[in-house]
């Protein structure tokens, strides 16, 4: 069946901000879908609230709406788009299957409420009935039983009593799975009544339909997943099988997974395949990709269907990268009528997409967790996903792939120096935690048997045997020396995937020099990796697409070309502080330089991303971003004698950490040089530069001992901001109010050394923070955007909402910022992008004082946001600057005018999104360490409305009436009076704690008093739980109060009451509420906004 010519316009719904359970993989799938549909000549309309995505680039759709993903806004988009269609035009369709659970739920909502019918919009990709059958646990269970498949014993409950009754029938432990939540949100395993009540209550609350499934425990069973595609002609194919290294009980997103399945006989595999096909047909997924998950009892092979997702998913992104089969792209084509046999396989070009990829390598995915960012969070892995990102590696064997993936994780810990507690060995093997892999290796070092480890972990002995082989081989290294090992033995180690670093560690060769010694020995002995192709067909057919991985094997099949080339180093696994924004920049570098005629080469190890789509660059190396691997790629590419340049400033901190060593190894870095990057990081040198330029910065110093740190604190005055060098996302950064906290920090919080001292700065209280992004070609500077933070200085810039253009900074102060930016960019010889952070503090006379907080001569987190607001693709322009082009050539008008890039008549507010709901018990207070996982953008003519939209997109629904609870520190009491009055005028009632109430009553307001948590009952928490409070404004009082107020913040998160922790943000919220009270739902397409410039 060919393309459906009756369709004219297609609305694609994205997945919104990056959150745990829904990450960059939906940018990848959405981007693929948009590209495919546009190529097919459809009019593509996209809505997504996340500005950091590639999919929201204005050239990927005909109209791109960066708007809240909720009913009202999407209905408005549909209304406008339907109206725009001329009479007699084709159909208007909605593709809901590439935007994760968010898009699917929204589509169901729009269908159920009659919006789709009203505007005559057809759901394509998955029909309503199929979505419901797959998502509704009861319907799903019935469907499975109908086709003769087993499911775990279970019952749906919507109250605690039914849950308890059923659980006691099943016997503990039981699983709790809330309906219609993503990433297993709110799920858990209960071993007793008490736990059941707790988890069930949370699950019922999180489920949009207040429903949970109580399920028989199949903990310890083997877990599998099949990626399936079906077309309108009922052709069904399996793209990939995935086997979990971690047995049942750990969410797939938190499991180490392996493709293809390794321990199934053909009969078992085919039974699973037959079942997957039957599930697709029974559920009625007519077109597109789905996954079906299975559990298999390792003792007798009993197979149970766990669930299916009638849409592309995290694992379909993984499967696409693992096989070279672009599931989302093909799914989009199937949705518009094509059948699989009509679509060519991109990789072979000669054979059709209607086949099942076969692979001649092994793929391993390892999740990345960041519990260190959330003190108090439970790091036990269970049915609710907790990881923030993942890495994938490809090797010819499981061992090689596993070890490559392991080193891709960038744990920051020294290889082989993981902190292992022998007394906890059994516990760490039995209970899944992020460190389990390390403990398994430790167990084998301690001569435990595979059988014993398998009994404790319930992992498949085959996987464990592989780990044991690696462990024993590594342990044997220490019995050799670099002189005695010989080529054959060293090659064997490399074939096991052992890094130069691990080998160096065993030989006690220290630091970067030690690793270098191993590398040189290896090269001397002629032991180099070769590069092989991911080709969907195990070499049966010729491959046209250079999607490469390294392995220690015989034949290299990817000779470099002699074209001028640029290697772009990606940002590795998604993590807090280094997310999709950097992938956006890397992709843009590739797009721009491809247009300029370079061969672009991407290196990355994150399977969720657009950068690791084989379509993005001329060549893709799916490799760890570790010096050893990057150098091997460089040497390989440079061996043709072609000119090669490497971009390190786009992948966040990951490539920057390699920059100096790459340069030392003779690798040409294009753009800002590593020396400048180091200069900006080096306290002393940078301080001197600022002195020379007469640019003020907060007083500060560096310390490598407790005594030094205390002396500096004394000298510059408290509070102080303390942090380690060379980190992104404010890792381990704190505000210390006294000497004691500084001493504690130095003793406990971080490691430091003479080349990586702790940085201590005076903390500017009550200052406005500003981010500036600028472009520089070493001669000229163009200021791209001055973003005013809505939260005060001291809250990590990534966790602060900000607005473009600045809304309350005087022009002359802006001019000071501009002048500082220009001076610094030129002084640092920036070629490319630079990001500066300033703090503006008012003195008693009302004069502004501008301080530089930091300068980052690299792409920043805000680049995509500023690009979307200004319509100028900053990362593309900057990439071109790196290859020698100039601002005079690329942005002549903007350069001549000397003005910042134009944002037109609208306000663009960026707001962060936090993972609090995933980490029970964690304090939700904001500080200098970044905690947000993603961001959204709100666009509107006025600041208030833009802020309200951003808040809405971030999941904070600002109330338009009700009661505000104020509890502010002494410092804020004066300023609160005007603000509170504003809320009263907006029609809100006020509740406040003692001190705050006194001051508000003094100003003539009517205030209801409430106790602080420690004081008595009813307290603020009682009111929150009693749904008496709709908005919380709580500015914390120094460090001690953090703990007292924590229960309030937690209760608010659970009750989903928006909590604001700064007066500045409360002010913005008031503006937003005022805008919302007018009940305006206005949407803007980016293309229209950009056209008005």
């Amino acid at each position: 069946m060919p393309r459906r010519n009756d369709i004219q316009k297609i609305l694609v719904i994205g997945s919104g901000p990056i959150i745990i359970g829904q990450s960059a993989e939906f940018d990848y799938s959405g981007t693929q879908a948009c590209k495919a549909l546009k190529q097919e000549g459809f009019e593509v309309v996209l809505v997504n609230s996340n500005p950091a995505t590639i999919m929201t680039d204005p050239d990927l759709a005909d109209r791109t709406y960066i708007e809240p993903l909720n009913h009202a806004y999407v209905e408005e988009i549909i209304r406008i788009e339907a109206e725009m269609m001329p009479p007699g035009a084709g159909k208007f369709a909605l593709l809901p299957t590439v935007g994760g659970q968010t898009a699917l739920n929204l589509a169901v909502d729009l269908a159920d409420s009659g919006v789709l019918e009203k505007y005559n919009v057809e759901l394509i990709g998955a029909k309503l009935e199929a979505i419901k059958k797959a998502e509704d646990r009861l319907l799903f269970k019935d469907a499975m039983i109908r086709i003769g498949l087993e499911v775990a014993k279970s019952a749906l409950v919507n109250n605690l009593r039914d849950g308890l009754d059923f659980a006691s029938k099943l016997g503990f432990p039981v699983l709790i799975r809330p309906s219609f939540t993503l990433g297993g949100s709110g799920g858990g395993i209960a071993y007793n009544r008490e736990e059941l009540l707790e988890i069930l209550a949370r699950g019922l609350d999180l489920s949009p339909v207040h429903e949970c499934l109580i399920e028989e425990s199949i903990l310890g069973w083997k877990e599998y997943e099949l990626e399936v595609m079906r077309d309108l002609a009922d052709n069904v194919i399996i793209i990939c099988s995935i086997e979990n290294f971690d047995p049942m009980g750990v969410h797939t997103g938190d499991s180490i997974t392996v493709a293809p399945a390794q321990t199934l006989t053909d009969r078992e595999y085919q039974k699973m395949r037959d079942a997957s096909l039957a599930v697709m047909r029974e559920i009625g997924v007519e077109t597109g990709g789905s996954n079906v998950q299975f559990a298999v009892n390792p003792l007798d092979g009993r197979m149970i269907v766990i669930e299916m997702n009638p849409r592309v998913s995290r694992s379909s992104a993984l499967a696409s990268k693992a096989t070279g089969f672009p599931i989302a792209k093909i799914a989009a084509k199937l949705a518009v009528g094509y059948t699989l046999d009509e679509i060519p396989n991109d990789i072979t070009r000669k054979t059709p997409a209607c086949f099942e990829p076969t692979i001649d390598y092994v793929v391993v995915k390892i999740p990345k967790w960041q519990f260190e960012k959330f003190p108090g969070a439970d790091d036990v892995l269970g049915p609710q996903m907790k990881s923030v990102g993942e890495v994938m590696a490809i090797g010819r064997t499981f061992k090689e792939a596993l070890m490559k993936a392991w080193r891709s994780l960038e744990t920051g810990k020294k290889t082989g120096a993981e902190v292992l507690d022998p007394r906890r060995l059994t516990q760490m093997l039995v209970t899944p935690r992020p460190e389990r892999l390390g403990y398994i290796r430790y167990a084998f070092e301690q001569a435990m048997s595979v059988r014993e480890v398998a009994r404790l972990t319930r992992m498949d002995p085959w996987f464990l045997h592989q780990l044991r082989e690696i462990t024993l081989a590594q342990a044997a290294i220490a019995r050799t020396t670099p002189e005695t090992i010989g080529a054959d033995a060293l090659r064997r180690l490399k074939r096991l995937g052992l890094s130069d670093e691990r080998i160096a560690t065993e030989w006690k060769l220290e630091g970067h020099d030690g690793i270098k010694q191993v590398r040189e020995l290896r090269e001397k002995l002629g032991i180099k990796p070769v590069f092989k192709l991911v080709d969907t067909c195990a070499a049966e057919f010729e491959s046209m697409t250079p999607y490469l991985y390294s392995t220690y094997d015989e034949e290299d099949e990817a000779p470099p070309t002699d074209k001028s080339k640029i290697i772009i180093l990606g940002s590795g696994p998604n993590r807090i502080g280094q997310g999709i924004e950097f992938d956006y920049c890397c992709c843009h570098a590739s797009f721009a330089l491809k247009e300029d005629g370079f061969e672009t080469i991407m290196v990355n190890c994150n399977p969720e991303t657009v950068s690791t789509d084989y379509d993005t660059s001329d060549r893709l190396y799916f490799e760890p971003l570790v010096l050893e691997d990057v150098l091997a790629i460089y040497n390989h590419e440079a061996s043709s004698g072609a000119k090669v340049g490497v971009i390190v400033q786009y992948g966040g901190q990951t490539p920057l950490n390699l920059a100096q060593r790459l340069k030392a190894a003779g690798v040409p870095i294009v753009g800002t040089q590593p020396d400048s990057i180091d200069l900006a990081e080096d306290r002393k040198q940078f301080g001197k530069l600022l002195d020379d330029l007469k640019i003020p910065q907060p007083k500060g110093g560096t310390a490598t001992s407790v005594e030094q740190a205390l002396a500096i604190g004394e000298k510059i005055g408290y509070p102080v901001l303390v942090r380690p060098s060379f980190v992104l996302g404010g890792r381990a950064m704190v505000i210390a109010y006294d000497a004691e906290s500084v001493a504690k920090y130095m003793r406990e919080a971080v490691e430091y050394s003479s080349d990586r001292p702790v940085l201590i700065d005076h903390f500017l209280e009550n200052a406005i923070e500003v981010d500036v992004d600028a472009l520089c070609d070493s001669k000229d500077v163009v200021i791209a955007g001055i973003m005013q933070h809505i939260e005060e200085a001291g809250i990590h810039s990534g966790d602060s909402s900000c607005v473009l253009p600045a809304v309350s900074i005087r022009e002359e102060t802006l001019n000071v910022l501009r002048a500082h930016t220009r001076k610094l960019a030129l002084a640092l010889k920036v070629v490319g992008l630079v990001n500066l952070q300033f703090a503006i503090q008012k003195d008693d006379k009302g004069n502004d004082h501008v301080y530089v907080i930091e300068v980052n001569p690299r792409a920043s987190r805000t680049v995509p946001y500023v690009s979307k607001a200004t319509g100028i693709p900053l990362a593309k322009v900057a990439a071109r600057l790196m290859t020698g082009r100039t601002l005079a050539e690329l942005l002549p008008e903007q350069l001549k005018s000397g003005k910042d890039l134009d944002v037109g008549s609208h306000h663009y507010v960026k707001s962060p999104v936090f993972p609090w709901s995933k980490f029970a018990g964690v304090d939700t207070i904001l500080g200098p360490e970044m905690k947000s996982t993603g961001e959204v953008m709100g666009v509107a003519p006025g600041f208030g409305e833009a802020f309200a939209k951003a808040q809405l997109s971030a999941g904070h629904i600002l109330p338009t009436g009700g009661t505000v609870f104020f509890s502010v520190n002494d410092h804020d009491k004066q300023a609160l009076i005007d603000l509170a009055r504003r809320y009263v005028n907006l029609g809100f009632k006020i509740v406040a704690t003692q001190g705050t109430a006194n001051s508000l009553e003094g100003a003539g307001m009517i205030v209801e008093r409430v106790f602080k948590v420690g004081e008595g009952r009813p307290n603020a928490v009682d009111l929150i739980k009693g749904e008496r409070i709709q908005l919380i404004v709580n500015t914390p009082e120094g460090q001690s109060a953090y703990f007292d107020e924590k229960p309030i913040r937690r209760a608010a998160v659970l009750a989903r009451v928006p909590t604001i922790t700064t007066l500045a943000a409360a002010q913005a919220a008031a503006e937003g509420i005022a805008a919302m009270q007018i009940h305006r739902t206005q949407v803007n397409a980016l293309q229209t906004l950009h056209r008005e410039r």
Binding site: G301, T358, C537, A539
Partner: protein, 383 residues
């Protein structure tokens, strides 16, 4: 144990030897299936061939008696990237290494199998020798060149059963009770009205074909390749099955003759070599493919339904579609990768055949329906 592969064109691969220490020789072909190494090893169609598996991890789930496709392995030798020294699966009865040693199959591991596959893809399937005596490379290459070529070789009569035997649905070898074989797509199995009698020509028949026929409630009498048509018809079968098998179909002229004699007198279903022989019997020609089809992921379009089946393949030869008389014979299946003819059906007489393996084992079950079609054809013929 060091081991070596020497190809007739002089290319050498050095690796480690497992399984049977010693030497083997044959035509080197690659198979791209991800699962089912035991079924592949025991498929008689691989007689005379050394098989390189593209899945780099082989041996992981061990071996068991139920998964055998014949009483013993028929491959001459096995080449893998990594060979598992342990077996991990509830069905496993013997570690793969021991199994290969027991049946004297040499295994070459730790070579760059992808490089070998690319070599075979580029230059075509070629003869080779695996040896654990690795010193005299030139002698091994010479030995490879001396191996009889596949073209013109009748291997069917070599692997065929010497005597007649039967398999009924009640036979434990039919494994009717195995829950792994009762596919969810096949829920009506066991409800067939009456039992039919099939005579199966054994040119190298796979056990799963017999199991599938038993599942269709057939008693199967397996006869040697050279059994005459008269002898077969004397058994009064409801249908005749022509099995898969190794080697070149052309020298198997005795079977071609028998098929011609049976045509129109009894329903006939052929698979693989059986299909090629059917093609020859209908006046067509066969030819050798460059490196053959060996794998479990081939898209085959069924012209009658318009749907694509993902199928298991194992053939080095194929029937030339242009050599088939279109007024008599309908072409029913084609491989979408390279347009190889994969199935045909006589327009007026009860005969159909497919080039690929609907019995799978290993491979997808998409084409199981062909056994049901065969049954229906027999039922219809019987009236």
């Amino acid at each position: 144990m060091q081991a070596i592969l020497a190809l007739e064109d002089g290319r050498i691969f050095r690796g480690l030897g497992y399984g049977h220490p010693g030497e083997c020789q044959g035509e080197v072909v690659f198979n791209t299936s991800l699962t089912g190494y035991q079924e592949i090893a025991t498929d008689p169609s691989y007689a005379g061939q050394i098989v390189v598996l593209t899945n780099p991890q082989i041996g992981n789930y061990g071996t068991n008696r139920a998964d055998n496709e014949a009483a013993k392995p028929y491959i001459e030798g096995l080449i893998v990237r990594e060979f598992s020294p342990i077996a991990s699966n509830w069905r496993s009865e013997q570690v793969t290494d021991e199994y290969m040693e027991r049946y004297q199959v040499p295994v070459l591991a730790e070579i760059d199998t992808r490089a070998l596959v690319r070599h075979l893809r580029t230059f075509g399937a070629m003869r080779g020798v695996i040896s654990t005596s690795v010193s005299d490379v030139d002698a091994l290459v010479a030995k490879a060149r001396a191996i009889p070529k596949m073209v013109g070789t009748d291997l069917a009569k070599v692997v065929s059963t010497p005597t007649i035997y039967t398999m009924t649905p009640e036979d434990p070898r039919a494994q009717l009770e195995d829950p792994l074989l009762s596919s969810v797509l096949d829920q009506t199995a066991g409800e067939r009205a009456w039992r039919l009698k099939v005579v199966a020509y054994d040119f190298g028949i796979k056990l799963n074909i017999l199991r599938m026929l038993c599942r269709e409630n057939c008693d199967v009498t397996v006869v040697p390749a050279q059994t005459s048509a008269d002898d077969v018809l004397a058994l009064k079968p409801d249908g005749v099955f022509l099995s898969n098998g190794p080697g070149d179909p052309e020298p198997v002229d005795y079977a071609v003759k028998s098929i011609r004699q049976m045509l129109g007198r009894v329903p006939i279903f052929g698979i693989c070599l059986g299909h090629q022989l059917t093609g020859l019997a209908l006046g067509g020609k066969t030819y050798k493919l460059k490196f053959g089809h060996h794998g479990g992921n081939h898209p085959v379009k069924n012209y009658r339904t318009g749907k694509v089946e993902i199928t298991a393949h194992n053939h080095n030869f194929a029937v030339d579609p242009d050599s088939i008389n279109p007024s008599e014979v309908e072409l029913t299946h084609v491989d979408l990768n390279d347009n190889t003819l994969e199935g045909l059906r006589h327009k007026s007489l009860p005969l159909f055949s497919v080039q690929y393996h609907p019995e799978a084992a290993p491979g997808p079950h998409d084409s199981h329906y062909l056994f049901r079609d065969f049954r229906k054809m027999m039922e219809g013929w019987k009236g």
